[in-house]
Every structure is written in structure tokens, then in C-alpha cells.
């Protein structure tokens, strides 16, 4: 990082509503021009965090910095941030043009410049042709674009988006994800995007923060968060995870490098988020379904565990196998349909994994 201040920084920010702690001492830094997502289940505090950044809520404790300046108490109408609301919140009595012009007019820009900027913003979201329409005559996707233009036109330092695609159908949502990413690259401003949809967050974000119960569980790039989840919660929230309980066999530089799972199989592990663990301590091994493989008999050179196929589910591009382990619990295995398959429900199988993808998290959290 260079010396330029972060577009947005939160230091130990806490928000309480009465006795309820909505956001519990979170820290984060978002540099200029980054697409950053706050990801988590509903009630995890992500929307409250966003509303604090927008200025609709004031942090109970901690400091919020906008472009390096303390901004806890700046009211929303004086902040260089703009929010795209989940419900769009367009002004129902104004045309598309008037909606988008609302911000620039409040900034008292000369009217020709307002017009120019509004049309440019509508151009960016491909809505210039509908400038004179009222919001009620637009489709959900179109309203969404107008809401985006209405925020973008102010050229905020940080653009905040509160699950803006939540109300759209799947196909449109996928289109808009790519569209949002394109727009973000074009305008080059920092986006902070709130969503509960991990796929959405993975598709668009440069980095993301996974939140749970008011705390940030992990911040990282989509790859980091997927391949090296910090906690069991992250492992299970982002994508699918098979979790095996294990005991540490060997430790190097404070990190376990070899563990044995309950049925006695030993495996080396590639990465670990459990610092300071000792030989003999309990950990969890995270294995992604696409890193597992089925075998008729015990493979020679790979760690494997024995089980019985319970279900085979054809899903188009992939086939999902649910395997009941003899040692208890189930494993999910994903394989492409290009591989010839012979396993059927009831078959005894061995499930192997590639040690270079095996990842360990602490067993202390749930």
C-alpha cells in the first residue's frame, strides 16, 4: 500500500441498539478504487455497517474515517458517499431524469452541467432512452439501473450498495453482476457492496469481508477466503465444505503439517489458520467437494476414507455424490459429468483428497 489514505477505514467500530450489539468492534480498510463486499447471513450486522458508513447510524464506539478524515458525525447529506438502496427508493413523483438530477441539483451545479452529467450517468447504466419515464412504469431491473445512476452521478468517493440485486430474478441478477463490475472499473471509485449471496460476492469483489454475529470472521480476496477460510463458519458459508475432525501429528513453525483424522487416516495439510497449536490438539480439516475423488478400492498414494454411496444427484455440468462414511458423518463429492462414473447408491467406495488442498481450521469455534 502507498501512503494515500484509504477511501474508507473503520477502527474498532461498534453499534448497539439498546442491549443488542449489531456490530461488534470491526476493523477494516478499503483502498481507493476497490470493489469490496460485506458478506454474511441476515442479521450479521452488514447492513448496519453500511448505514454507519452512509451516515444514517452513528457508531456507538470506534472511529469511521472517510478519505482519512474522521466522519462519525457527518450527516448523510454532507458525506461524499452515496447509497444504492435495496428497494431502490426512487422518488415516485419524479421522472428518471429528475431522480438522477436530484443530487447534482442539491450541489447547485449549473443546469447545463446537471443535464450533461445526468445523461452521462444514464448512458453508463444504459438508461438514457427512458429519461422521461416515471419509476412506476419501469421494470425492476430498470429501476435498479436508475438507482445506480442516481448515486453514481454525484461521483462519490465511496459508493455503497445494499443488496441492490436482491429483488431481481436469477438471470437478470447474473447480468447485473457483470454490469456492476464493468461500471465499477469504468468509474474507478470504491464500491462497498453488501450481500448475503456468496456467489455474488465472489463474482464481483476484489476483496470481501465475511461477517457473522456483528464480527468480521475474515477479510481477503475471494480465492483466499475460499481456499483458506479462517474459521469453520467461513468454510461453510463460502461454498460447500466437508469438515473432518482430526488430531495434530506434526507441527512446523507453530503450524500443523500433518494430522490424523478419527478413523486413523493421516494426511499432510497444505495451509492452516490455527496458529500456535501443539501436537495432539484437536483441529478441523476442510475439504472442498470438488477436491474429493471416488475410488473402488483404497488408493495407494492418496489419503482416503472409506464409505458407502448414499445418493447420486445429476446436476447438469456436475454430479453430486453423497457418501456416508463408515466412521460416521457424510461427505459430498462433486465430479464433472465428463468423467465416466460407475458408482451407484449402495456401492462401497473410498473417498480420497489431494493433500495440497487440505486446509485446517481451529475446532474451538462452531
Amino acid at each position: 500500500m502507498n501512503d494515500a489514505p484509504y477511501a474508507l477505514e473503520l477502527r474498532k467500530v461498534t453499534k448497539r441498539f439498546g442491549d443488542i450489539v449489531a456490530v461488534d468492534g470491526i476493523d477494516l480498510q478499503v483502498p481507493q478504487g476497490e470493489f469490496f463486499s460485506l458478506l454474511g447471513p441476515s442479521g450479521c450486522g452488514k447492513t448496519t455497517t453500511l448505514r454507519m458508513i452512509a451516515g444514517f447510524e452513528e457508531p456507538t464506539e470506534g472511529t469511521l474515517l472517510l478519505a482519512g478524515k474522521e466522519g462519525n458525525e457527518i450527516p448523510p447529506f454532507r458525506r461524499n458517499t452515496n447509497l444504492v438502496f435495496q428497494s431502490y427508493a426512487l422518488f415516485p413523483h419524479m421522472t428518471v431524469f429528475e431522480n438522477v438530477a436530484f443530487g447534482p441539483r442539491r450541489a447547485r451545479l449549473p443546469e447545463p452541467e446537471v443535464r450533461e452529467r445526468v445523461m452521462a450517468a444514464l448512458e453508463t447504466v444504459r438508461m438514457a432512452g427512458l429519461a422521461e419515464r416515471l419509476p412506476r412504469s419501469l421494470s425492476g431491473g430498470q429501476r435498479q439501473r436508475v438507482a445506480l445512476a442516481r448515486a453514481l452521478v454525484n461521483r462519490p468517493a465511496v459508493l455503497l450498495l445494499d443488496e441492490p440485486l436482491g429483488a431481481l430474478d436469477l438471470k437478470l441478477r447474473k447480468e447485473m453482476q457483470l454490469e456492476l463490475k464493468r461500471i465499477q472499473r469504468e468509474v474507478g471509485i470504491c464500491f462497498v457492496y453488501v450481500t448475503h449471496d456468496q456467489e455474488e460476492a465472489m463474482t464481483m469483489s476484489d476483496r470481501l469481508a465475511v461477517m457473522n454475529e456483528g464480527r468480521i470472521e475474515q477479510i481477503g480476496t475471494p480465492e483466499e477466503v475460499y481456499h483458506r477460510p479462517a474459521t469453520r463458519f467461513v468454510a461453510e458459508f463460502i461454498g460447500e465444505a466437508n469438515i473432518l475432525e482430526a488430531t495434530v501429528d506434526r507441527v512446523e513453525d507453530g503450524s500443523p503439517v500433518q494430522v490424523s483424522i478419527e478413523d486413523g487416516t493421516t494426511t499432510t495439510v497444505a495451509s492452516c489458520n490455527e496458529a500456535d497449536c501443539e501436537v495432539g490438539s484437536r483441529v478441523l480439516v476442510v475439504l472442498r467437494p470438488e477436491h474429493l475423488q471416488l475410488h473402488r478400492s483404497r488408493p495407494e498414494d492418496l489419503p482416503a476414507t472409506e464409505g458407502r454411496v448414499a445418493e447420486v444427484i445429476f446436476q447438469g455440468s456436475v454430479i453430486r455424490f453423497v457418501v456416508e462414511r463408515l466412521a460416521g458423518g457424510t461427505l459430498t463429492v462433486l465430479d464433472t459429468t465428463a468423467t465416466p462414473h460407475r458408482a451407484a447408491p449402495g456401492d462401497g467406495v473410498w473417498v480420497s483428497w489431494l493433500p495440497e488442498w487440505a486446509h485446517v481450521v481451529s475446532s474451538s469455534d462452531l
Binding site: 444514517f56 447529506f77 458517499t81 452515496n82 428497494s87 426512487l90 422518488f91 415516485p92 443530487g103
Partner: protein, 308 residues
């Protein structure tokens, strides 16, 4: 009585209407809506248009105690006498001021109840509704004990040594009429305004703030345009009863706070001059009609439809 004998017109529930409707002959189909309207129209005809018609006839007849019932325009000429014209002007002034004060109080109050008071929203609405349950006469007498020469306000002001003599303009003036009318009609103004405010999505107000609008701009550009229909409805609902109120001017108006309706009441019940009373009634009706027409005229109704 067995169940099959039911009065015509109410034997079908609206739901059943949908299904049997289309099967009926065309003529019957066209007449059915008229039949459904017959009830309310009949009530209006008998209890509203009827009396009004009788008054219209009276207003063109010689109908004082000594009158003989012949046709005349004298009543309308009498209604144009300076004392009635003055009363009419006073009525208009009092009604307009009351309306303005009422809106100035009701509009912010409706906004607060709709958006700012949180869990007090329902209790406050109930309190407003309850305040209207009080008998109007008792309420007006209560105001007399508050505003009277030895009333609550004067006593307090004197005890605080803010005034030496009791204020004599507190009661039996236009002031007291405005106070009583405003207080009496407050619930009727707040509730439609509240209803209009409630249809505004709270996020829309936040969006305005987010886009750089302070509270005044938000009010001007967003809240007011979105509640203009309710605002108009409130004027129509409240202005007519205010301009035609007779109890408040009669009980707290004194000489300077007279209003047309109390004069009409006096002409009918006190002096038996039904002809002039009827003529003035139509003057008052025309005035309120004008206000309603004007409010529709100055506000483009079609633009006010904020429903989706």
C-alpha cells in the same frame, strides 16, 4: 319465514355476482349497477337533496312570520345587506386563519407521528381520535374556562406577574373562535395527512438525505409533493365544516367573532326569518363550493396520484 324469501338487491353477495353476472341478459346486466346504487342515492336524495330543495324554495319566497309565500328575490337582496356581508367576510377571515393554523399544526404533527415517534405512533393516533369523542359543547365550555376573564390562562399570566389586568381579547373575539375551531378539527386534519405520509417509503426520505438534501429541501421536494393529495383532501374535509360552524362562534365568538352559520341559526330559530336564512345558506354553500373547486383547480389532481 323460510330462507328463500329475501329482499331484492341484497340476495347476491358480491362474490357470487362475478359468476352469475355474465350469464344474465344484457339489459339486466346494465341495470344491476344502478340497482346497487339505488340505496345510497336514495338516502342522499331524501336526507340531503330534499331539505336543500325545500330551502331553495324558501329562499325565493316571502317566508317571514308575516310573509304570504309569494315568489320574490327580496331574501337575496336582504342577504347583501352590509351586516351580512360583514359577517360573511368575518366568516371567511376566521375560516382561512383557522385553516392555516390548523395545517401549520397538523402537518408537522402528522409527519412526527408517521416517522419520528416510534412506539408512540398508535397511542398518539388513539389520543387524537379520543379527543374527538368529547361532546363539542362540553369542549367549547372547557375552552371558556381556559380563555375566560378569570380563566386558566389569565390567572397564570397574572400570577407570574406578566400582566396586570386580565387580557380581554382571549375570549369572545375572533381569536377565541380560531382557537376553538383549530382544536376541534385537529384530528380531522392530522389523520388524512398521517395516512398520506404513511404511504411514503422511509427509504425515499433517506435517499433524499443521502443525495444532499437537508430537512427543508427534503420536505419541499419530496414530502410535500408526495402528500399533496392528502393535503388537498384535508383542506376539503376540514374547511367546509369550519366555514359552516355555528357552535363555536355562538359560544365563544361574542360580537366580533360572529360567523355566517351562527347568524343563519339565529335567523331560523331565533327570529323566524326563514327566507333570509335560506338565502344566506346558499351563499355559504356557494362559498364552500368555490373553495373546493379552487383547491381542485390549483392542484393538478392527475399529477397527485402517487399510487403505483
Amino acid at each position: 319465514m323460510n330462507g328463500s324469501v329475501t329482499p331484492p338487491g341484497i340476495d347476491e353477495e358480491p362474490l357470487a355476482l362475478e359468476t352469475t353476472y355474465a350469464g344474465k341478459p344484457r339489459r339486466q346486466r346494465r341495470l344491476a349497477p344502478l340497482l346497487y346504487l339505488a340505496g345510497p342515492v336514495g338516502v342522499l336524495a331524501v336526507f340531503f337533496a330534499g331539505p336543500l330543495g325545500i330551502l331553495a324554495v324558501y329562499s325565493f319566497q316571502e317566508r317571514s312570520r308575516t310573509g304570504d309565500g309569494s315568489w320574490t328575490l327580496l331574501n337575496y337582496m336582504a342577504a347583501l345587506q352590509p351586516r351580512y356581508v360583514e359577517t360573511a367576510l368575518d366568516t371567511l377571515i376566521i375560516a382561512v386563519i383557522s385553516m392555516a393554523v390548523l395545517l401549520a399544526i397538523a402537518y408537522p404533527l402528522a409527519y412526527l407521528i408517521a416517522f419520528k415517534v416510534g412506539r408512540w405512533e398508535v397511542p398518539l393516533l388513539l389520543a387524537l381520535a379520543l379527543s374527538d369523542e368529547l361532546n363539542p359543547l362540553i369542549r367549547i365550555y372547557a375552552w371558556r374556562t381556559i380563555l375566560g376573564r378569570n380563566g386558566v390562562v389569565n390567572t397564570i399570566l397574572q400570577q407570574l406577574n406578566l400582566i396586570d389586568e386580565p387580557l380581554d381579547w382571549l375570549i369572545f373575539t375572533k381569536f377565541s373562535v380560531v382557537v376553538v375551531l383549530t382544536a376541534s378539527w385537529l384530528p380531522y386534519a392530522v389523520i388524512p395527512l398521517y395516512a398520506a405520509m404513511k404511504t411514503i417509503d422511509r427509504r425515499v426520505l433517506e435517499a433524499a438525505r443521502d443525495l444532499g438534501a437537508g430537512w427543508w429541501t427534503t420536505f419541499q421536494k419530496v414530502v410535500f409533493p408526495l402528500t399533496a393529495a392528502g393535503f388537498l383532501a384535508t383542506i376539503v374535509i376540514v374547511f367546509i365544516p369550519i366555514i359552516s360552524d355555528f357552535a363555536a362562534p355562538a359560544l365563544v365568538g361574542g360580537k366580533s367573532g360572529r360567523m355566517l352559520a351562527s347568524v343563519i341559526e339565529d335567523l331560523f330559530l331565533g327570529r323566524g326569518q326563514w327566507g333570509i336564512g335560506s338565502a344566506l345558506t346558499f351563499v355559504l354553500l356557494a362559498a364552500s363550493g368555490f373553495v373546493v373547486w379552487l383547491s381542485y383547480k390549483i392542484t393538478d389532481i392527475s399529477k397527485l396520484d402517487t399510487s403505483r
